[in-house]
């Protein structure tokens, strides 16, 4: 129990602390009203004029998307021999990119679900496009293992339990099947959550659209939403429940992804640290991607009032924390392999640090363990341009991490006679670049045709939404 003096003491804030509070930017620039928030966000969708930069960006994304189409066509026509992976490196770009993409998706769910449960108001203006990012990243991710089967049209009965004429069933003791269930559930739940959040905004767009076609399309998507208090009541409950359900889900998804490795007996994979280390890495890379998308979005769409420096700061801080958990994971891996006393484990680490792929190992240490320390400095967190560049580096660093985990463990395993080197082919790069194209193309379409920021949630944080205290709520 605090005595009145202590309470009084706590009230008397030092000038430095008061200055710090004053320097903390708001989650929304003051002066906004229901109308101004609604107009600013819906204008980007309903406006007939598309910014010229949008066409430029979409064109680049579209070209890469065509690269993806060509790659997939060749892959299905020729077979997965066009990729560089071969015994002993049977998993390479396909699984590296799968883990990279699925990890990126995790930040979207963290922002939309976990931060909602923690009542973090700053999530409001970034949750919509972060959730969209999740969906698109999961779509890109799912493509890799599916195409790695070589015959995706047959993969259905290998992966999904349905009564087929051969009487075959999937093998549920394999982590790869767990992965199918985890990723497909994750994709489904993310889509439901995203669509649920969109419905009241669809109603807003339906009511504000001028063109009859837009009115019809948004009208259908709005499902007849009319803002009834009875509906809001259940809606808020469903939203909270979905957030509560998504929270363990998102933690489970990357844990299950890590089981793909940890359940095997390969040196460098068979480690108990994997699930938490993978989840932290996923959130770290995901926030890097949110920052990569948010910085240009707020600049080119004039959303600086909604995605303020507060959001940029907080995202940088989340990256700092999760980045250091990841760095702790690296230290742990090195310690385990030394402490295990097992020559295969020890050689794996020695090979990572000094072997043919050492340059990638040290690059990822440089980025994920050393460079991230810059985020301690307020000057760095204040510099949006620098943060954008650093976030791109983090995306690269996390990709390298997956490369190192997968390739260095496989290319030199127990038997030196089977050692070999892995080299990706241009089709590997084509497929990777292609999914980046798919991701960006979907994202460009999203910011043009759907509200990139949750309008109704933004309305709840403007001062107008505050009720006076006389009601017995």
């Amino acid at each position: 129990m605090a005595t009145p003096q202590q309470a009084l003491h706590r009230q008397a804030v030092s000038p430095e602390a008061a200055a710090l509070v004053a320097r903390t930017p708001a989650v929304i620039t003051p002066g906004h009203t229901f109308e101004s928030v609604t107009e600013t966000i819906s204008h980007a969708v309903l406006s007939k004029r598309t910014p010229i930069g949008w066409f430029f960006g979409f064109a680049i994304a579209f070209i890469l998307l065509m690269v993806l189409n060509v790659t997939i066509a060749n892959l299905l026509f020729t077979g997965i021999g066009i990729w560089g992976n071969n015994v002993p490196v049977g998993w390479a770009f396909d699984i590296i990119n799968f883990v990279w993409w699925i990890g990126i998706g995790h930040a979207g769910t963290l922002i939309s679900a976990i931060l909602l449960l923690f009542r973090q108001q700053w999530r409001t203006s970034i949750n919509r496009f972060a959730e969209a990012m999740t969906l698109f990243a999961v779509a890109c991710a799912a493509m890799f293992p599916l195409l790695h089967t070589g015959r995706p049209w047959l993969a259905i009965y290998w992966l999904f339990p349905y009564p087929n004429t051969m009487g075959l069933w999937p093998q549920f003791r394999s982590p790869l099947i767990w992965d199918v269930f985890a990723v497909s559930t994750y994709g489904t739940v993310s889509a439901l959550f995203w669509f649920t959040g969109l419905v009241p905004d669809m109603a807003t767009l339906r009511d504000r659209a001028k063109s009859p076609i837009a009115q019809k399309i948004f009208g259908m998507l709005a499902l007849g939403w009319r803002g009834s208090a009875r509906h809001w009541h259940r809606y808020e409950m469903a939203y909270l429940l979905l957030a509560g359900i998504s929270t363990p889900l998102v933690l489970s998804v990357h844990s299950v992804v890590s089981f793909d490795f940890a359940v095997s007996v390969l040196p460098g994979w068979h480690a108990t640290i994997f699930p938490p280390y993978f989840v932290a890495g996923a959130i770290y890379s995901g926030f890097a991607m949110v920052l990569t998308l948010a910085v240009p979005l707020r600049k080119f769409y004039g959303m600086e009032d909604f995605i303020t420096m507060r959001h940029i700061h907080n995202m940088a801080k989340v990256m700092l924390v999760t980045g250091m958990i990841v760095a702790y994971g690296y230290a742990n891996e090195a310690f385990f392999s030394w402490y295990s006393g097992n020559i295969y484990e020890q050689y794996m680490m020695y090979n990572r640090m000094t072997g043919p792929y050492a340059v990638f190992y040290w690059s990822l240490i440089l980025i994920n363990a050393c460079m991230i320390q810059l985020f301690w400095f307020r000057k760095v967190r204040d510099n949006v341009g620098l943060l954008f560049i650093l976030s791109l580096f983090v995306n690269v660093g996390m990709w390298l991490e997956r490369f190192i985990i997968i390739v260095t463990s496989l290319h030199r395993d127990f038997l030196p006679s089977s050692w070999d080197m892995y080299q990706p082919t241009r089709w590997d790069f084509g497929m990777f670049a292609g999914t980046i194209g798919l991701f960006l193309a979907l994202f460009f379409l999203f910011i043009r045709f759907l509200p990139a920021i949750a309008i109704f949630e933004m309305r709840t944080i403007v001062p107008q939404a505050k009720l006076s205290t006389e009601h017995h709520g």
């Binding site: 549920f172 269930f181 009319r226 803002g227 429940l241 089981f259």
Partner: protein
């Protein structure tokens, strides 16, 4: 329209307010006045309206819990049936019913069952999608999804009387009161 005489002439009366406060106060007063068949419409969720309208706790959480249980049982049952009965395989000498291997999928199907129930259940209880509703006949209602707050007292309420109810709503200082065509 064959039964023109029986068809109600209005769906209800709708008052428009500028602030969430105005709407909550009006709803509380309408409830004190004895009106029950009414609904409030707002561009943001307002928790205080639940009490003002006398809304019960929704049964959605119970349904979601059931959905999760069913999903989990379904997932585990599927694994048991396929791995033990329909297609038993010896994997590294493990028992056919090697339950620890079945947990991850059981977890995922639990989540899936709960999430699908939350989604489908919420829209079903809300009776959405609904292609037509009379409140959209009021032109001012277009702002209900931006910055205006509405209270609609429906004609089916036993205390509803076109003139008396209109006078009551006018006394609440709304921006305006309009008849809602059915």
């Amino acid at each position: 329209m064959t039964h023109e005489a029986d068809a109600p002439t209005v769906f209800g009366l709708m008052a428009e307010f500028e602030t969430p406060d105005g709407l909550v106060t009006a709803t509380e007063k309408a409830r004190l006045e004895g009106y029950r068949k009414m609904d409030a419409y707002s561009p943001i969720p307002i928790e205080e309206l639940n009490e003002a309208l006398g809304l019960n706790r929704t049964r959605l959480p119970k349904l979601v819990f059931l959905g999760g249980i069913l999903g989990g049982l379904g997932g585990y049952g599927l694994e048991y049936w396929t791995q033990v009965i329909a297609y038993p395989l010896n994997i590294g000498g493990r028992p056919f019913h090697s339950w620890p291997h079945f947990i991850p999928v059981t977890f995922e199907t639990t989540v899936l069952g709960a999430a699908l129930t939350a989604f489908v259940g919420m829209w079903a209880l809300n009776k959405l999608p609904q292609p037509y509703h009379p409140v959209f006949n009021v032109p001012a209602f277009a702002r209900a999804s931006t910055d205006r707050f509405f209270l609609c007292i429906e004609a089916t309420d036993p205390r509803f009387e076109l003139d008396a109810t209109r006078r009551f709503l006018q006394a609440l200082h709304p921006v305006g009161v309009s008849e809602v065509a059915p």
